[in-house]
């Protein structure tokens, strides 16, 4: 048997210099890596703004309110794309929010056995995993032909309003809105589900204790308690819907003519970038960058608003 080496219990061990060096070096390294987020963000803003400077100087704010997109005469205005971006994003959310919220309620407020609820939750999350380009392919070859009869019906019955005034012919704003619904639905469902799950059980027990029904509790107690997170999630989805590119590009028709009709082909900023950026040159690149700046500001405002809502609106219970 070996005897244990003598231990001088009260001697402080001096840290070897290379240990100190590794510690400091590692700390500095992670600091730089964390800072890279800020640097990248800043670089994105600077790059896109410098790219857009020429168009900003040439077209000014007129760019936002005119709809000419004419590479031959070098006249550019992004009104169609901005209008398309806002309309598709807002209308798709108007459809997706009730459905997503309903789904979230359905899988959190024990209407079903837990195992079944988890399966539905998993399926909705898997829907989020399907790449947008695959959804676009599906939209072109399956969804759009399938819904065209319904869109035609909309046209024949509501054709007197400017929003349905054109005959649906393949790609258009309406199919783009529907595919956006499919894309933002999982986000809204997932965030609403988390928000509802975080409502303290005592609130539910209290509500049921005073004798309300399930939906009385949901509408008067649970939803108001979760409203800030849900609103935050809705805003995040709005940002996502505005920036969504591939599926929308493939199905919206990329029209350069302004039309109020949802059944006519339209355009969004993102799909305009996807379509033209690769082949553009001269001031067209700058004009596209200007459009990119507009998109970036829109999504930035929406995202910051989302964070602000979550922090400010949260009820204290």
């Amino acid at each position: 048997m070996r005897s244990a080496p003598p231990i001088d219990a009260f001697t402080l061990r001096r840290r070897p210099p290379q240990e100190k060096l590794t510690d400091i070096g590692f700390r500095q390294l992670t600091l730089v890596l964390a800072a890279s987020v800020g640097i990248i963000l800043l670089a994105i803003f600077v790059t896109v703004f410098t790219g857009a400077r020429e168009a900003m100087a040439t077209f000014g704010l007129r760019f936002l309110t005119t709809s000419a997109w004419d590479p031959v005469n070098e006249q550019y205005g992004a009104l169609i794309a901005i209008y398309g971006t806002l309309v598709t994003a807002v209308l798709s959310l108007l459809i997706a929010v009730p459905i997503g919220l309903g789904t979230a309620i359905f899988i959190t407020e024990d209407l079903l056995p837990r195992s079944l609820r988890d399966v539905i939750g998993l399926l909705v999350e898997l829907l989020a995993a399907i790449p947008s380009v695959v959804l676009g392919l599906w939209a072109i070859f399956v969804m759009e032909p399938a819904i065209r009869p319904f869109l035609s019906l909309l046209h024949t019955t509501l054709g007197w309003t400017p929003f349905f005034s054109t005959e649906p012919q393949g790609p258009g704003t309406a199919p783009a809105i529907l595919i956006l619904v499919v894309m933002v639905l999982p986000i809204i469902t997932a965030i609403s589900r988390d928000a509802l799950n975080q409502v303290p059980i005592e609130l539910r027990q209290g509500a049921y204790g005073v004798g309300t029904t399930r939906w009385g509790a949901i509408f008067n107690v649970i939803l108001p308690a979760a409203v800030s997170s849900i609103m935050g999630g809705v805003m995040l989805s709005l940002g996502r819907a505005m920036g969504e590119t591939m599926a929308v590009t493939m199905i919206i028709g990329n029209s350069l003519n302004f039309s109020l009709s949802l059944l006519a082909p339209g355009n969004t900023i993102a799909s305009m970038l996807a379509n033209q950026f690769g082949e553009a040159d001269g001031i067209q690149v700058s004009a596209l960058m200007y459009a990119a700046v507009v998109l970036m500001i829109l999504t930035f405002v929406v995202n910051v608003l989302a964070q602000w809502i979550v922090r400010r609106l949260s009820l204290r219970y």
């Binding site: 590692f26 992670t30 800072a35 790059t47 209407l111 399926l123 829907l127 599906w138 950026f277």
Partner: protein, 302 residues
């Protein structure tokens, strides 16, 4: 002044009973609301099935060895495969992971282990949320201006490297967020224990804290990779496309997502078919990765 006498017990039981009465207005409304929520849940799940069924049928029947190993045909010709695009997707995603994972994990470590709760960490976390919200097409525009247009890599314009970097910008916020949140879950006692037996900060983090947070970090990383593999918008004008086998990291490269985009809008039947086939392979890979992530988080929780 008249005082109404309190209702007697018998009066109560006449009107109110503890038995559930489905005919009551509020109970009927309840049933209707249940049905509406159920319908919405069904509506939310249906698109997944419709997409999956079509991708499986349209793409699955084309599955063959030729599909996985050959080059796509020239426009108008039949046959061919998507071998170069499968390889390209793997290459580009690998480049993105090799950049985003070390940077993201490092950044997450700083935020959770070192940062005081000051302006810097607030700024980085805020910036991370903003970066996560930047549309993917803007990432493409950014990398195009930064790398492709400036021809920074050996005077090459479009390249696999540029595509990989664009995807890494997209992955980074996910990796940072999951690392940061994963590390926050590690009990403070574990760090104290490590310091107590004389471990340095570096050793504590690499040997104790990071391994303890492996599960949430790995889950987030796998999900980030899966998302990057399916992204198209950042690649169309960075990695571009190529009908040939990959020619190194500094030349244009084919990827499945860009192939689907390009071939879906071509007026040729053979190309459309290949787009479906590529969707099949891509969806299978991504759903596989998602289930893997789920398995990691369940299997190692125990």
């Amino acid at each position: 002044m008249s005082v109404t006498s309190p209702p007697t017990t018998s009066q109560f039981t006449e009107r109110l009973t503890l038995h559930y009465d489905p005919g009551l207005k509020r109970n009927r409304l309840n049933q209707i609301a249940n049905a509406v929520a159920g319908t919405f849940a069904a509506l939310a799940v249906i698109p997944l099935f419709l997409v999956l069924i079509y991708v499986l049928i349209q793409g699955g029947r084309l599955l063959s060895l030729q599909l996985l190993t050959e080059l796509p045909p020239a426009p108008g010709l039949e046959g061919g495969g998507i071998g170069n695009a499968i390889l390209g997707t793997i290459v580009v995603t690998l480049i993105a992971s090799l950049i985003a994972i070390p940077v993201g994990v490092g950044g997450g470590v700083y935020l959770s282990e070192y940062a005081q709760d000051g302006w810097f960490s607030k700024f980085v976390r805020f910036g991370n949320d903003v970066l996560a919200g930047v549309p993917s097409i803007i990432c493409g525009v950014f990398i195009y201006s930064l790398i492709v247009a400036t021809r920074i890599f050996f005077d090459q314009s479009f390249s696999a490297m540029a595509g990989g970097i664009a995807l890494s910008v997209l992955m980074l916020p996910t990796v940072i967020k999951t690392t940061y949140e994963g590390l926050l879950l590690v009990p403070q006692e574990m760090r104290m224990g490590a310091y107590g037996v004389g471990a340095s900060r570096f050793v504590t983090i690499t040997q104790i804290t990071l391994p303890a947070a492996f599960t949430p970090i790995a889950t987030g990383v796998v999900l980030g990779i899966a998302r990057a593999a399916g992204e198209t918008a950042p690649l169309i004008f960075t990695a571009l496309f190529s009908p040939f086998w990959p020619e190194g990291l500094f030349n244009p490269i084919a990827t499945m997502s860009v192939l689907i985009f390009n071939f879906a809008i071509m007026p040729y039947e053979a190309q459309n078919q290949l787009a479906w086939a590529a969707s099949f392979v891509l969806v299978l890979m991504i759903l596989g990765a998602n289930l893997l992530a789920r398995w990691i988080s369940h299997a190692t929780r125990a």
